[in-house]
Symmetry: C3
Subunit: 345 residues, 3 copies
């Protein structure tokens, strides 16, 4: 936390139009409900005007259409949420990476570590790895042979990057992330499975963030490629040879099967499932819990069994097994009725 800033100091850095006292000082961001005089809040939606009337916040970031709804000192901007995110970062700068290799880290003599990088206790960096400036390798994490980590990367504790993978600048791997494990590739050999060597890499672009315990497998022959600015939540699985375009965001617990190609600027809800070998257009939105089983043009797609109280579900789910025959019965009824109508003419 950076300490108090006045609205005029904030606006000098982030823009926006001040209404009310420009010397109003704030210390931290907050929610409408919990805020005190030292806090700034934001309002971007009519729903929150009631809470705004009751908040004890010192200042508000607000869109022009609601600026008259409060007498608090405020910064007016067209994109209050984006502004608020920048202000939150201004008040809470990323921690500075203190350079140095902990004596309890194990760095291979043939690894190349930038002098400004930080390697914590228990971390292991293997041969030929190249670690960029200010890269921060957390406790107990692992960087395999030949890996390239860009400048300002951060690996949280226990993150693992297998040999040969590439992580772009400013990318973040949370704890338990595994990048570059072998893809799931086997050829049938009678009753047994013969494993197919996974020779590709994982290549992550710049500004990628990957949530805790997410896995991205290496490609079989080609690479698995995650574009610049992609954001993956926790517990996602990305299979071998998948390609994800820049700035696509995927929520937690989603699985993407092998060789799927996902475009740029897509938004994929949590617990979704993307079949392998399909292509999803730029800008596609997929709802949570939806299984996508063929290639998609841009649009919004959903497929989720609607829950119900258990008894109703039982009845409807049982009926579902007879749906195609029901359609046939309706067709016969339509014919029958039509027959009657013809007869009665």
């Amino acid at each position: 936390m950076r300490g108090p800033l006045s609205l005029s100091e904030i606006a000098a850095q982030l823009g926006g139009r001040i209404v009310g006292d420009p010397d109003c000082k704030i210390v931290q961001v907050s929610t409408l409900a919990r805020a005190g005089a030292e806090h700034v809040v934001f309002v971007a939606d009519r729903r929150y005007l009631g809470e705004l009337a009751r908040t004890r916040a010192g200042a508000v970031v607000i869109s022009p259409e609601f600026e008259a709804s409060t007498v608090l000192p405020r910064i007016v901007t067209d994109e209050p949420y984006l502004y608020f995110s920048r202000l939150a970062r201004l008040l809470n700068p990323l921690p500075v990476c203190e350079a140095g290799i902990d004596p309890a880290a194990r760095v291979h003599p043939r690894a190349a570590v930038a002098p400004s990088a930080r390697i914590e206790a228990g971390a292991v960096v293997d041969a030929e790895a190249r670690i960029g400036e200010r890269a921060w390798i957390g406790a107990g994490s692992f960087v395999g042979a030949g890996v390239r980590l860009g400048d300002d990367c951060r690996l949280y504790p226990t993150a693992v990057v297998y040999d040969g993978c590439v992580i772009g600048a400013r990318s973040i791997l949370h704890a338990g992330v595994v990048i570059g494990a072998d893809g799931f590739g086997y050829a049938r050999d009678g009753d047994r499975w013969n494993s197919i060597p996974q020779l590709g890499r994982v290549v992550l672009g710049d500004d990628v963030e990957i949530g805790a315990n997410t896995t991205v497998d290496r490609g079989t022959i080609d690479d698995t490629v995650i574009g610049d600015g992609v954001k993956l939540d926790d517990q996602i699985h990305i299979a071998h040879n998948v390609r994800i375009g820049a700035n696509t965001a995927i929520a937690a617990c989603t699985g993407v099967a092998g060789s799927a190609v996902i475009g740029r600027n897509c938004e994929i809800g949590g617990a979704a499932m993307i079949r392998g070998h399909i292509e999803i257009a730029d800008g596609t939105r997929i709802s949570p819990g939806t299984a996508i089983t063929r290639s998609l043009r841009a649009g919004t797609y959903t497929g989720l069994f609607p829950f119900d109280d258990h008894g109703s579900w039982l009845r409807n789910a049982a009926a579902l097994r007879h749906l195609s025959s029901l359609i046939e019965r309706v067709r016969r009824l339509e014919k029958g009725l039509l027959g009657k109508e013809s007869n009665s003419d």
Copy 2:
């Protein structure tokens, strides 16, 4: 394993009414099928009376309604399963935590570690962390700056707790658990995503148990809160700002999206999905594989596509895409028939 105990020694500690030889000695719990003379088994359901007749167990924990179904020495109790769980623990006490900091652990000089705590090789405890009495921090696990771990906590190897989080007394984090990684919060900034600092903590109550590779993200501004006695299975994801009430149990592979509020004493089946920003009442039951998309009053809820042989599924799934038009066709048929009926009056 604690060694042989007689039924009378057991009943002295756990209660229950002995029928048959009170000096019958048992060594371990078992299943009806595998038990030998040194084992105790339990029967709480009529289905198992056949197996009970054939078991070679030395003794049985049984409910009053079935106590006449066996001649084996037995302990009669109204809750045989609960009794059995206590007896299993009596025979298999939790291992004693041997105090001490392994020389290959890395404890920050400004961390406060209770003298009875145990910190194993490769574990890292950061500045200002406070570690309670008899807390057991496994090999290669990580305790961030300012974390508070309650008395008698256990972190299995590779568990990670990010800075500032709070873990209550007697709580257990299995291997690969990640507590307090950043929540998935971004504001759109043109085509790019601007990350929102995640300033809240995760606060776990007492007696919480968290299964292997489960993730609980820190809150954005408020905390993510897991109540006393909550049990989370493996591979669950709990997003930022979620609140889970005391003694709720959630089975594996479930995802809970941001700001969902789950009540006390709920039971949530495996691979369920809870949408964000909804509220689930105390005592709600959610079936496995069910996606909950709105707030719920107490009850039992289900939503699962019934599987079928592939061919039948193909027919019914195709029909499903025409369901709303089918309803319209039936409505027209009903009108048509009604018209006929009117005509024929």
Copy 3:
């Protein structure tokens, strides 16, 4: 990578019939699109004949029915994909395990480690563990007390094996795998949950491969058993007391609930869900995203809500809640129409 091999050298080791120049030398496998003169590719499907005509590969592994479709030097075999997998391994042999215990590893004095085994920095091997010949224990991984690791096993960095578990020969655990964490077993004790000691083990057969961040819980009383040659992808959860027969393959993000029994040679798609206490016959195929809720005879089973554009889904999903009453309405219509028909007779 092993360096150039001629087709005749390859056929001498792997069989197959050479057509064209037997001295054609290749260095690596590739895809049709990316191959150059030093690469070998394979064609097993008519779909790829177009790409085959354009490829710059030096040689092809091909089935007899397509062998006339190219003039490239080729190896003809009935199973091109299997052959290709063997050839890929021949060209890319598994890395040799360099024996030795890293000084930064922690091996308990009462552990028994084969002299040819390798234990990397930060790994911990507990008391009474037995480590087989050429076993390779990666950085930061954990082998609990009494664990038995077979010959030629590999634990990638941060893999965890709890005490008492057994890992067969040549088995592979990728990063973040957790074997033997406590199963999710509790008895209700009023409002609270009383944990049931999980006394069983996990027993993995030979040639098992387990993907990154997959969890296999230990049994309650009996063991959790994974048969020889089973392949589990990433992010799978196998609950306590599950048994999986030999050579079954399960794709990523699948959950198998407690005490389920899965036969041999099954293929289970990604993000599937198997209910507890059911039995699945040998050779069963389960489609991705399918929840299996009762025991199965061999066959192919599917249950997946078909996705649609969001608007169509909304209409059909709403209609689904009225499906059982729709069937009733159709029944009444059928009766009504039948009544009319009787009347008009």
